[in-house]
C-alpha cells in the first residue's frame, strides 16, 4: 500500500485532519520517538498524518561571532538554536516517517507561515524529485467537509510564491533585528564598557514610535478651559436636558452672560424637524476587527483573542482566523451554517429568523484577503468550550448573523427652542426598527430616550441654564487593541504578526500597562533611533517592504530581490551608526543613567546607609522589586517586594523604619505606603485612592 506523509502545523490540527481523512473516521494512533502521529486510510492509501510544532526551522547567521553588519543567512532546525528537545523529537519522527513515504502533502494552515513551515520540513526530509511532486491541501476551516474537499482538490505542487514571500520575510526580519540590535548594544559597550540587552526590529521600530508620539503628547499636555451650558426644560412635568447651539464657549464672561440672560426665562419652540436614518448592518469580522471588539467588550489583549480564535478554529467551530478579509465569498453555503447555528440554544430563534426570510445576503466589508474569507462560524457545535472561548465564539456568531440582518431604522427629531434670542436644541433619537441590532444586542449600548410631543410656537416655561467650566483632555493612551488597529491603518506588520510585535515590546521592557505607557528604556531607544536612524522608526520603510513581499507572493519579483533591496536600505543606516558608535553609545548610556535616576531611585538604604534603594527588574521573570545598590558589591542584600502593576515614584523615607515610601499610581487611584511589608506605614499626607 502506498504511503503519503501529511504534514500538519499543530497536533490538534493533525488530529482533526486524520479524523476527516480516514474513511472509517477512526485513525490509528501511533507513537514513536516520544511523539504521536496518526494513520488514516483513504482511497487505498495509507496517510501518515504528522504534526510540526509551528516552525521547526529558523533563520540564523553564517558564523558564530558577535559582530555587525551581518547579511549572510541560513535556515537551520530550530532546536539547534533554541535547544528544544520537543522540536528535535518532532523533526526526527518526520525524518523517520519520510523514509517510509512514497508521497508528501502539506496540510499546514493556508497562509505564509503555514506554507513555509511545511516547505522547510519537506525540503529537509524529501528527496528533490519528491519535493517537486509534493501536494498542498488548501482549507479555510477544519470541518470534515472542508478538509475532504481540500484533500480532493489538493494541488500537485507546493505554493512556491507564498513560500518565497515567507522566506524573504523571515530573512529580512532577522537581518534587521540582529544588525540594529547589535549596533545599539555595541555602541553602548564601546562608550560605557557595559553590556545591556537592547533590541529593535523592522516592525518594532515604527510600533515603538507610535507609542512614543502618543506619550510625548500626553506628557506635554496642558489642559485649557472652556464652558458648556447645562440647560434643562420642564415639558409636561418631565425634565429634559437641552443643548446650547454651541457645544463650547471659550470665555467665562460670555458663558456667564448667556446664562444670566436665559436662566429662569421662558422659551418657545421655533422649529421642529425629523428624519429617518438607516444604519447598515456591520460587515463580518477580519482578525483586526475581532481583536478590537474583544478588547472593547472583554478587555482581551489582541494576542489572547488570536489564541482563543485559533483554538475555536482547531475545534472546527470557526473559519481560519488569521485573515484580513471582511468579506464572505458567494460560494459559502450561508444556509447550511445558519442551520447549524439554529441547533445551538442561544442562536436558534435568531438563525431561524434569517432562514425564514431568504435571500440571505451578507453586508460585505471593504477589505479582502485572497487566501481566506472573513471569520465566520462553520455551523459546528460543541459544549466543550472554556468561558473565554464561549465569549469569542458568541461574538463571532452574532456578528456573522448581524451582517445578514436588515438595516436598523432610526427616527431622529430635533426641536429648536429659542430663549431670549439664543438657540437651544432638544435632540432625540428613537429606534423604529432594530433590524440587525437584534442579533448583536449584547454588544450594543441602546438608550431609550423619552421624547416629548411638541408643537411649533409652544411655550417652554422657565428654562434653567447653568454655565459649567470644563477642561480639554489629553489624547487617550493606547491599549493593545488600539495600537494594533493603528499598526493596521499604517500598514505596519501583518495580521499574523502584529499582536506578537506588541507583546515583544512589552517583554523587552519598552512598554508597560495597559493602558500602554512608554518606559524610560523605551523612550531612550526611540530617542536614539530617531536621532541617528529615523528610517527605522518610520512606517515608510517597513510599509515599502510589505508591498515588495506582497509582490513576491504574486511572483512579480523574487525573494532574493527583496532581501537584497532590504540589505541595501539597511547598509547606510548601519554605517551611519558605526561612524558615530561612540557618540550613540554615550548618549544611550547617559540616558539610561538618567532614566534610572528618574524612575529607579527611591532613597537611601536604611540598612547599610551608603547604598541607594532602587527599583530593579528580575531579568528572568521581569518582576520588579526594591534592592540596595550595594548588592553588586556584596556589602548589602536588603530588598523589598513591590506591587507589579502601576506607576511607582519615590515618596520620601518612612518615619517609622527608614525604608523608602512609594507613591503608586494605579488606575484612577494614587496610594502611598512604605515598601517594608513588616512596617506597613502609609506615609505622610493621604493622597486618597
Amino acid at each position: 500500500m502506498k504511503r503519503i506523509l501529511v504534514v500538519c502545523e499543530k497536533p490538534m490540527a493533525a488530529r482533526q485532519i486524520a479524523l476527516a481523512l480516514d474513511e472509517n473516521g477512526d485513525p490509528r494512533e501511533e507513537r514513536r520517538l516520544g511523539v504521536t502521529y496518526l494513520i488514516s486510510r483513504r482511497e487505498g492509501l495509507e496517510l501518515l498524518v504528522v504534526s510540526a510544532m509551528g516552525h521547526l526551522f529558523t533563520v540564523t547567521g553564517n558564523d558564530k561571532g558577535w559582530r555587525y553588519p551581518i547579511f549572510e543567512t541560513r535556515w537551520v532546525p530550530i532546536h539547534e538554536v533554541t535547544g528544544s528537545r520537543r522540536a528535535s523529537q518532532h523533526l526526527s519522527l518526520i525524518e523517520a516517517l519520510a523514509k517510509e513515504a512514497d508521497g508528501f502533502v502539506s496540510a499546514c494552515d493556508y497562509d505564509v507561515e503555514g506554507s513555509l513551515i511545511a516547505y522547510n520540513i519537506l525540503a529537509h526530509v524529501c528527496p528533490r524529485e519528491r519535493l517537486e511532486e509534493a501536494g498542498r491541501m488548501r482549507f479555510s476551516s477544519m470541518t470534515r467537509e472542508a478538509l475532504l474537499e481540500a484533500w480532493r482538490t489538493r494541488s500537485r505542487r507546493l505554493d512556491y510564491p507564498i513560500i518565497e514571500a515567507g522566506r524573504a520575510r523571515h530573512e529580512v526580519d532577522w537581518i534587521y533585528g540582529i544588525n540594529l540590535s547589535r549596533a545599539l548594544m555595541a555602541s553602548l559597550r564601546r562608550a560605557s564598557g557595559c553590556f545591556r540587552p537592547l533590541s529593535i526590529g523592522r516592525v518594532q521600530g515604527p510600533t515603538l514610535n507610535f507609542v512614543k508620539e502618543r506619550e510625548v503628547e500626553i506628557g506635554a499636555f496642558v489642559p485649557t478651559p472652556y464652558w458648556v451650558l447645562e440647560a434643562h426644560a420642564m415639558i409636561d412635568g418631565v425634565k429634559y436636558g437641552i443643548e446650547y447651539e454651541r457645544p463650547r464657549i471659550e470665555t467665562e464672561r460670555e458663558a456667564l452672560e448667556i446664562a444670566s440672560r436665559c436662566d429662569g426665562e421662558d422659551g418657545h419652540v421655533k422649529a421642529l424637524s425629523s428624519r429617518r436614518r438607516s444604519i447598515p448592518p456591520p460587515h463580518p469580522f477580519s482578525l483586526g476587527d475581532l481583536q478590537l471588539e474583544a478588547h472593547t467588550h472583554y478587555r482581551y489583549s489582541p494576542a489572547a483573542t488570536l489564541k482563543i480564535a485559533e483554538c475555536l478554529y482547531l475545534k472546527a467551530l470557526i473559519s481560519y482566523p488569521r485573515t484580513s478579509s471582511q468579506r464572505i465569498p458567494p460560494t459559502l453555503d450561508l444556509e447550511e451554517i445558519l442551520k447549524g447555528l439554529r441547533r445551538m440554544r442561544p442562536y436558534g430563534e435568531l438563525a431561524e429568523s434569517l432562514l425564514s426570510k431568504p435571500p440571505l445576503r451578507i453586508n460585505q466589508g471593504v477589505k479582502d484577503d485572497p487566501a481566506h474569507p472573513a471569520i465566520h462560524p462553520t455551523g459546528y457545535h460543541t459544549e466543550d468550550l472554556s468561558p473565554r472561548e464561549r465569549r469569542i465564539f458568541d461574538l463571532i456568531c452574532r456578528r456573522f448573523m448581524a451582517s445578514m440582518g436588515d438595516p436598523a431604522q432610526l427616527l431622529e427629531t430635533d426641536a429648536k427652542i429659542d430663549v431670549k434670542g439664543r438657540s437651544f436644541h432638544l435632540a432625540r433619537s428613537r429606534l423604529l426598527d432594530r433590524g440587525w441590532m437584534i442579533f448583536y444586542r449584547p454588544f450594543l449600548r441602546e438608550r431609550e430616550e423619552a421624547s416629548p410631543t411638541l408643537e411649533v410656537g409652544q411655550i417652554i416655561e422657565k428654562v434653567s441654564v447653568k454655565p459649567l467650566r470644563r477642561y480639554t483632555g489629553p489624547p487617550q493612551r493606547l491599549n493593545p487593541a488600539s495600537l494594533l488597529k493603528l499598526m493596521e491603518r499604517e500598514g505596519v506588520g501583518t495580521k499574523a504578526t502584529r499582536a506578537e510585535i506588541i507583546d515583544t515590546l512589552f517583554r523587552r521592557g519598552y512598554l508597560e500597562g495597559p493602558p500602554i505607557k512608554l518606559t524610560e528604556l523605551g523612550l531612550v531607544v526611540a530617542d536614539t533611533l530617531g536621532k541617528y536612524c529615523h528610517e527605522v522608526l518610520s512606517p515608510e520603510l517597513t510599509r515599502r517592504l510589505e508591498k515588495q513581499l506582497e509582490r513576491v507572493q504574486i511572483s512579480e519579483i523574487t525573494s532574493t530581490q527583496v532581501v537584497e533591496e532590504a540589505i541595501n536600505a539597511l547598509k547606510p543606516i548601519l554605517s551611519r551608526i558605526k561612524e558615530r558608535e561612540f557618540q550613540i553609545g554615550l548618549e544611550i548610556s547617559k540616558a539610561l543613567r538618567a532614566s534610572s535616576s528618574i524612575l529607579g531611585l527611591l532613597g537611601p538604604c536604611p540598612k547599610c546607609k551608603t547604598g541607594e534603594m532602587r527599583i530593579i527588574r528580575n531579568r528572568s521573570t521581569g518582576k520588579r522589586f526594591v534592592g540596595c545598590s550595594n548588592y553588586l558589591k556584596g556589602t548589602c542584600s536588603l530588598s523589598f517586594p513591590l506591587p507589579q502593576r502601576g506607576e511607582i515614584r519615590a515618596g520620601g523615607q518612612c518615619p517609622q523604619c527608614g525604608a523608602p515610601i512609594i507613591i503608586l499610581k494605579r488606575g484612577r487611584g494614587t496610594y502611598r505606603r512604605c515598601v517594608n511589608p513588616r512596617c506597613g506605614h502609609r506615609g505622610e499626607g493621604g493622597l486618597g485612592g
Partner: protein
C-alpha cells in the same frame, strides 16, 4: 551637571536649559496660557497655580510648571 536639563537628568537641548521634552512642555504651557488669559483674564502665576490642580496636566508640563513657580 552643566549639560543636564534644569528639571531632569536628561541632556539639555543645544542653546537651551531644558531637555527636548521639558522644552516642548514649556512651549505648550506658553501657548495654553494665551487661551487661559483670554478665557479667565488671569496672570501667569495664577495660571500656573491653577493648572497644577488639574490631574490631566502632563507629567513634563507639571514638572515645568512646578519649577517655574519655585523660581518665582
Amino acid at each position: 551637571m552643566e549639560d543636564r536639563c534644569e528639571i531632569c537628568p536628561r541632556p539639555r537641548m543645544e542653546g537651551g536649559s531644558l531637555c527636548p521634552y521639558h522644552q516642548l512642555a514649556y512651549e505648550r504651557l506658553k501657548a495654553a496660557f494665551e487661551i487661559w488669559k483670554r478665557a479667565l483674564n488671569m496672570g501667569w502665576r495664577q495660571f500656573l497655580e491653577e493648572i497644577l490642580k488639574l490631574s490631566d496636566l502632563g507629567l513634563w508640563a507639571r514638572e515645568v510648571a512646578e519649577s517655574l513657580l519655585k523660581e518665582g
